[in-house]
């Protein structure tokens, strides 16, 4: 665990609460998927929680976030109510998109959480536009844009890196490198080797790699990146090394990964690591940790009940919101 000076106990407790909330939310969602309450695609963020929580903790409310389809973690870290997210996963009228978006398309405009994007790389140009608006309006907002290493091989990635750097736009491009694009290892998809963060050097963009299993390290690295970006230095590229403990989606039997590799990454579990460190160092007491854990369970229980009891969308909503 990276020791960040001056980090407050309150902040550490909040990191733990959010990461646990995401983890348990995902486990509940998997359970509800198995029970047929959730259908379609369900991509779980389990194992990667430190990134969303560490990075988003740095933002101001007016800053923007866009992300990929594995988006529950980012939504929760941004403060979206687990109730409306779970209801959206259940396809209910009370969901964040009134049951029209589903797991891959979470939005909360009131929190400037502008979406999960389900076409790989499609959020990168959107991030460029949000940052361009920030520049045009001189309102000081920054954009935090998450994507996986699979997006790096899309043409839009290169178009977006080039334009963002050319125009010195206020974006932190945050690569969540979990090594696998669906079932294919990065060594079989990316010519530039494992040091993906170095790939943007040619775009004249600063970059840095951080341990994606360490919430404190992610927090600190993002803080530095956002400070520079907000002060007008142009975009910054952060790469976090991470691992998804589950399959690509619920449909994935994970027969392409080595069990020893999985076990090695599981030893780096970001939630266990933080808890162990916080207890050993006396940052948090056992009692306090238990209080957090109980709170998370209650919140998720309420979320599942809310989703389950909510009505389906009325059929006349089918044609609503096609146009503004």
């Amino acid at each position: 665990m990276k020791v960040v000076e001056k980090i407050e106990k309150k902040q550490v407790a909040e990191f733990y609460r959010q990461m646990l909330l995401i983890r348990r939310f995902e486990e509940k969602a998997a359970e509800m998927y198995m029970r047929g309450k959730i259908r379609g695609f369900l991509h779980l963020y389990i194992g990667e929680e430190a990134i969303a929580v560490g990075a988003i903790s740095v933002l101001k409310p007016e800053d923007y976030i866009v992300t990929h389809y594995r988006d529950h973690g980012h939504a929760i870290a941004r403060g979206m109510d687990p109730k409306v997210i779970m209801a959206e996963l259940f396809g209910k009228a009370t969901g964040s998109s009134k049951g029209k978006g589903g797991s891959m398309h979470l939005f909360d405009a009131s929190k400037n959480f502008l979406g999960g994007y389900a076409i790989v790389g499609a959020q990168l140009p959107i991030a460029v536009g949000l940052a361009l608006a920030s520049r045009q309006l001189q309102n000081g907002r920054v954009v935090l844009c998450f994507f996986g290493e699979g997006a790096v091989n899309e043409g839009e990635f290169h178009e977006s890196m080039n334009l963002a750097s050319l125009w010195k736009l206020p974006i932190v491009f945050f690569l969540e490198n979990n090594l696998y694009g669906m079932g294919t290892h990065i060594d079989n998809t990316h010519a530039g080797g494992r040091d993906v963060y170095k790939a943007v050097g040619d775009y004249n963009m600063a970059s840095h790699r951080v341990d994606g299993m360490d919430v404190m390290a992610v927090h600190e690295a993002t803080l530095e990146a956002v400070d520079g970006v907000r002060s007008g230095e142009g975009p910054f590229f952060l790469e976090a090394l991470t691992y998804r403990f589950r399959g690509h989606s619920m449909a994935d039997p994970i027969n392409y990964r080595d069990k020893a590799e999985e076990a090695e990454w599981r030893r780096k579990d970001p939630i266990d690591s933080l808890k162990r460190w916080a207890l050993e160092e006396g940052v948090l007491t056992k009692n306090y940790v238990e209080t957090i854990e109980e709170g998370v369970e209650k919140e998720l229980q309420a979320a599942v009940e809310f989703a389950d009891q909510s009505p389906d969308p009325p059929l006349d909503s089918l044609m609503q919101d096609v146009y503004a």
Binding site: F107, L137, A324
Partner: protein, 325 residues
């Protein structure tokens, strides 16, 4: 009333918006220093400066995506795609993001983006640079598609586009930029979704849009010499589609030919013809005929290209062979 070209009318609409609405900015390939591939934005960079007039790299996808992002953040961007052929490189942003973000967010977001682009063939640019793909986009819910045929309509539709809160593909025909026409001095708009009767007649309805409107009008002149009075309906927008005005005309004339420049197979004209047969079947005295471009990639050679694009002769021949005029 002033006479101006189609190009000047569009320039006027853009200039007005830039002058009156701080949220408006333009971005695209070669729109600034070069003045626009079709010279629509000539002089704009000097007049409005680089903050409002942005030259971009040749990166269609990020240019459209950035327009979407900026629109979501409260601005009113006008993105120029040099031609509709290049829109294929931005199709994911147009179809999956611009068109769907409002719906997928349950109405939380809106994307008030104008995508200006240039459509059509006839300039011997061969297969990759002569397409009329606007009909594809018209099949996507969430998008609006404008296809002006005259300077009056171009300015009126552009003003309406600036007042609209939705993503709009504004397809200008490459061969119409020099077309002159009257434009009133007082402000007017042409609502999106209102077709226009460009010529009144009682014997047959010719449905067309963009440059094909003019081809239909010339065919109507020839038909008039044979004593056949054709009515020419200019769609002006493909989506929303003014079904009512089309049906009204067909109920009056009982005969109809739908004309479009793009490939006949799967063309937007099939949608129009199908709609007519569903909604005015009992009024028809013959099949609703369709005339489209040849089902081949556009050839380069002048004679072959002319053979591929509908013209007056083909309209009259189709009317006689299929419609029974």
């Amino acid at each position: 009333m002033a006479e101006m070209t189609y190009r000047e009318a569009i320039s006027k609409g853009l200039r007005e918006a830039l002058e009156t609405d701080e949220r408006v900015f333009l971005m695209g390939e070669d729109i600034g220093a070069y003045g626009g591939a079709y010279a629509v934005t000539r002089g704009f960079l000097k007049e409005f400066g680089p903050r409002r007039i942005k030259d971009t790299p040749i990166s269609e996808s990020v240019v459209v995506g950035a327009g979407i992002g900026a629109a979501m953040a409260g601005l009113k961007p006008v993105v120029e795609l040099m031609t509709i052929n290049f829109s294929l490189l931005a199709m994911d942003q147009i179809v999956n993001n611009a068109a769907k973000l409002r719906y997928m967010s349950g109405g939380q977001l809106k994307v008030p983006l104008i995508i200006r682009t240039v459509t059509g063939g006839g300039a011997q640019l061969a297969a990759t640079h002569s397409q009329s793909l606007e009909g594809w986009y018209a099949s996507v819910p969430g998008l609006k598609v404008a296809v002006p045929s005259t300077p009056y309509d171009a300015l009126g539709l552009l003003r309406a586009a600036f007042e609209d809160e939705n993503p709009i593909l504004f397809a200008e025909h490459a061969l119409l930029y020099g077309l002159r026409g009257d434009v009133p001095a007082e402000r007017y708009t042409v609502p999106l979704g209102q077709a226009d009767i460009k010529r009144f007649g009682k014997d047959v309805t010719l449905v067309a849009y963009s440059r094909m409107t003019h081809v239909a009008l010339r065919a109507a002149e020839e038909l008039a010499r044979e004593g056949v009075e054709a009515e020419v309906v200019d769609l002006r927008t493909l989506r929303p589609l003014d079904k009512e005005r089309i049906i009204q005309s067909v109920k009056k004339t009982s005969r109809c030919l739908v004309i479009e420049e793009t490939w006949r197979t799967g063309g937007f004209g099939a949608e129009v013809a199908s709609m007519i047969q569903e909604e005015a079947f009992d009024y028809l005295d013959g099949p609703v005929a369709r005339l489209g471009g040849a089902d081949a990639p556009m050839p380069y050679s002048r004679s072959l290209e002319m053979a591929a694009i509908p013209d007056e002769k083909k309209i009259i021949r189709t009317l006689k062979e299929v419609v029974g005029i």
